[in-house]
Amino acid sequence: MQGRMIEMAKKLLGDGTVNRVIGWKKGEFAYDITPAVFENAEEIDADFVYDDFCGHNLSKYLIKESKKDGKMLVFLKPCDTYSFNQLIKEHRINRENVYIVGIPCEGKASAETIKEKGISGITGISSDGDNFKVNTIYGDETVAKSDVLEERCTVCKSKKHVVYDELIGEDGEVNENSSRFDMVAKLENMTADERYAFWRNELSKCIRCNACRNVCPACSCENCVFDNPNSGVSNKAAVTSFEENMFHIIRAFHVAGRCTDCGECSRVCPQNIPLHLLNRKFIKDINELYGDYQAGEESEGRTPLTTYTKEDCEPSIVNERGCK
């Protein structure tokens, strides 16, 4: 795959279709991949990589990149295309300046999960399809790829590209049977005290590093409301428990109906807070109360929170059908 992508990137750069390419390059460690912009074939040959750790959703970078001169080639995995479409809907990306090549994705691995399995001192990782061979300073280990996938990939919602100019490989299907709401349902079935304890435990870990906000393609405001002095809620460091509550509830609320469930927030959280469970709660509620809706499926139209029907349920439904 990486080979075909490099080939395509060079071709499109060569024939002038695009003048830049956004993709991934290796960082300090084997699993430490970072998004990167390439401007010529030499740079691509030197650094371009596409492997099981290229989880980053590149859509958000296009907000800035698509405003620059010339067309940019972007490689988007199926779930990234949903974010892209949503950003098109919000007029954040200049579509003419982007050339999308859809690339297949069989799930991305999480270095965090590998480490959680007790493997430390990693010096290199190589893949032989279903398994990873992990070289560590203590010797080599083998782990099954399926055991170390990102959470979002274990419950992948779609392998279909909703927008692209060109595809590498076959397009996949929407996975109607994704079990992505199972954990939300599990939480809903806990008692209020248990849920409170769960979230207090999770949210109190928050250090307000804003990584979730920075990576989220839906959280793409020029200036965040929490940085807006006129909003009355601007604040920086979290001093007490309330502020993480406020920040994360409002953040999830602001992206409700716009969040494509790409899972980047949880992937980047240095404290491993399962932030996606907040977003998924909204998605689940929206699906159940207002009809199935997948943000990013369309590039125009209204989101569930910018529309209504006269027959919508009353908030008292929370008492009737809410959590236990």
Binding site: A192, D193, T240, F242, F253, F282, D312, P315
Partner: protein, 146 residues
């Protein structure tokens, strides 16, 4: 804040200018009593109520927050309360999900003619909040230190 061991809840009521605020005025005109713990904030429309206001109230130690607006279909601005209904439903559901007592929040449609309903609703809500006791789960401790 506890005087003589009697719990005096802080209840914030957001009322839309055209229906519910007028309904509250009518309750006054008709001398329909409800607890003094309820304090009303006037907003143009229920769709002006930002979830941040609700969370802010809880942060500052409110024990209950109630939002009142025109009945669906009667919004002065035609559609405001429909948007509000979706937003507030989702927010309430989220608070419930986070383990916050769901009785602490409420939305009620009160028309300008429903003074009696306004008063009854406030009595009932205040009673519920008194039963629940002090808001511990969403408060900001700094704001309580006096």
């Amino acid at each position: 804040m506890q005087i003589n061991n009697e719990f005096k809840p802080k209840i914030v009521a957001f009322c839309c200018n055209w229906c519910s605020y007028a309904g509250a005025d009518l309750a006054g005109t008709n001398r329909l009593n409800y607890p003094a713990d309820v304090k009303i904030i006037r907003v143009p429309c229920s769709c002006r109520v930002n979830p941040m206001f609700i969370l802010r109230a809880f942060q500052r130690g409110a024990d209950g927050v109630i939002i009142c607006g025109c009945h669906p279909g009667d919004c002065h601005y035609t559609s405001g309360n429909y948007y509000a209904r979706r937003r507030i439903t989702l927010l309430f559901s989220m608070l419930d999900y986070l383990g916050i007592e769901r009785e602490r929040t409420r939305l009620e449609w009160v028309s300008a003619a429903e003074g009696a309903k306004f008063s009854a609703t406030m009595n009932e809500f205040a009673e519920t909040i008194i039963k629940l006791g002090e808001n511990k789960r969403l408060e900001d401790l700094r704001c309580k230190a006096e």
